[in-house]
Symmetry: C2
């Protein structure tokens, strides 16, 4: 049984704040500060260039990828860290499309995170071979997986609503018609049990700064199914994915398996913070995290339903149909979220009218949920969202 008091003690959380935005940026694991400082002083400062070998920097993308692979049900040795999630979406989609050369449709849904759609649009326009990015409503995805489809590209948990796709069922459907799948696990990894291997996913990508708590701008990860790993062409074919990076051959030859999906020099400071963050996961059982998340999200939704009738709950009430967040639609959502933040409850706002709250059992429990509900009731009942100071939009929200 996961000891959530112990995991909470591993984070440095500011006093007087209820942090319900770990689905956007996880808080600071206490050990990360010390570990990064030691890496800077003892490794960069003292080992200098030799740190790539001596301190194991060069091996970190595979070593940390392995630890993330465990959290998403990947076969050992088939997950690697690198780049940003946008880049990894591009790489996975470009690689996948080449494996289904006769088809021209990339299927996605309107619940996908915009950057996934943007990267796909950019790729398809570059290719210039008449591919179509077909974006359907989330509920229409299953029926839209036809033999026209080359690649099904989906985010398992909708960033805006928290609705969760059935990864196993959709992947099976895709395989049945000969399409490949690219799953974005941005709101799944660290939020709920994922089983890329069991589901038969072809490619999966995700980020590490949300539920995995790797810090702002922590690198992304990519998984390629073992059946493809040694035959996929990485599209973004960089020197660290080369069979022998330090041979400095003029011609690219892909490395073995997932190593070929590496591209350029990895960000050692960010990876060091992430390594500390992953230590927390060594103490957690994902089934416990999921069970607790279901309780906390239900508790929050029940409170909202009872006392905040103006807020429309857009997240599914059936626990198996949602991730680890609750989204509320409210016309004055932006100002209401600013009022909440001013009163110490940090969630976020997604245009045009969604208030988002992430529930992360590693450091959020029932008392935080009740505390957040109390303040939410005050903000809504007191119409605090109507105060002018909460209506000023900042450039970045």
């Amino acid at each position: 049984m996961t000891d959530f008091a112990a995991t909470k003690a591993m984070f440095d959380l500011p006093d007087g704040v209820i942090y319900l935005d770990g689905n956007s940026l996880g808080p600071l694991p206490r050990a990360a500060r010390r570990r990064v400082d030691e890496m800077i002083a003892r490794e960069w400062g003292e080992m200098l260039i030799t740190g790539w070998n001596k301190a194991g920097w060069m091996a970190m993308p595979m070593r940390l990828g392995e630890r993330i692979g465990r959290l998403i049900g990947a076969e050992p040795g088939h997950t690697v860290l690198g780049d940003t999630l946008s880049i990894k979406v591009y790489q996975a989609l470009a690689s996948a499309l080449e494996m289904v050369p006769g088809r021209r449709v990339v299927l996605s849904d309107s619940g996908n995170f915009p950057t996934d759609l943007y990267m796909a649009q950019g790729l398809l326009e570059s290719l210039g071979r008449g591919h179509e990015l077909r974006v359907v409503a989330p509920g229409d995805v299953a029926a839209s997986i036809t033999e026209e489809v080359a690649v099904v590209m989906l985010t398992e948990v909708d960033y805006a609503t928290g609705r969760k796709h059935d990864m196993a069922a959709l992947t099976a459907r895709a395989r049945a018609v000969g399409a490949l799948t690219v799953w974005d696990l941005a709101h799944s990894a660290g939020a709920l049990p994922v089983d890329v291997s069991g589901a038969g996913a072809d490619f999966a990508v995700g980020c590490t700064y949300k539920y995995l708590n790797g810090g702002p701008g922590a690198p992304a990860f990519i998984y390629v199914a073992p059946r493809h790993a040694d035959r996929v062409r990485p599209a973004l074919s960089g020197w660290l994915g080369h069979e022998a990076p330090f041979a400095f051959d003029p011609d690219y030859r892909p490395g073995a398996g997932i190593e070929r999906m590496r591209v350029g020099t990895p960000p050692v400071l960010q990876m060091t913070a992430l390594a500390a963050a992953l230590d927390v996961w060594d103490m957690a059982d994902m089934a416990d995290v999921r069970a607790k998340s279901a309780e906390l999200t239900e508790m929050f939704m029940a409170g909202v339903a009872a006392d905040c009738r103006d807020l429309h709950i857009v997240t599914p009430r059936r626990p198996e149909a949602r991730g680890s967040q609750v989204s509320l639609r409210f016309e004055h959502g932006y100002a209401a979220m600013q009022a909440l933040i001013a009163h110490g409850v940090i969630g976020d706002f997604r245009a045009p009218d969604i208030m988002r709250f992430g529930f992360t059992p590693l450091y959020i429990g029932e008392s935080e949920v009740q505390g957040a509900l109390t303040i939410l009731r005050e903000v809504i009942a007191g119409r605090l969202w109507d105060r002018p100071e909460f209506k000023v939009r900042s450039a970045v929200t």
Copy 2:
């Protein structure tokens, strides 16, 4: 006049080491350690998600890009940070190729860094439109810039030999035949005066962990000439290059100018270290750095020529024809470099037989050059490279 004693004092250099590998990984700027620690504790730890606005994280790619732009002669507002150099090479080349749709040749040379060639190979294969990557000898580049050529893609200073191209002349030649240029400044930025604007370069990219001292895995940068900035299609079209990233539109619309070359969430820890590293450059005049670099490299080559006849100097002796490194060809180069490192002189080795030494006036002076020569003489004259302990190759060199 640049005070090199003052700039040297801004670095934390280990005792007993002569560090001649700042062309591969710059050493630790003293302020970086404190600045990253404060960022982790005060920004990530206390501001949490609000750090993107409050601490200015989201603006860092443009703000730091501006500071780098000053060092490479870019027009203000046309340089931005992000991703790795491999990714930025890909993005620049993909964008450039679309602007010259009728031509099918990408011209590069055998002195280009392999990852540039690999990324180009990957891109051209993805495009599948019959583009040819034509790789000629460095001395044949000028004559090879013909009207067949769509894009000339070169690294200004050869990573292996230190030979420097004439950027202005080659760019002019490319423009004269209607070809575009993509310049890789990995071994130029912070090493010598660069004038992308004066040269008329179309695209330039570079990394920040070599002469700019941003730390292992620090992000890359990209410059796009103002005449192209508002019409280029970024190819890697991510959400942070969108006109309105937080509108969460399903369709990509490029942002203004260089902002569109941004892709995903930027690495805040790495950028914070880089910001501290760039403070050193506020105290340095690039003309002084270049003059001192020419002296130091000449002093080193003269010493080698006089006393180490077995070592073949492959770096040009004319100062205007080289960057800020000296490369020596030696059959036993790998073992000799290991012996040097064991005796406190850190350079590096590049297959098959190149010993590289970087000379970085910000923290390397004449006494270090003389010290390195003394030890190099001992290693060569004493045949220390013949000892078995120096012959064992590590996986990463």
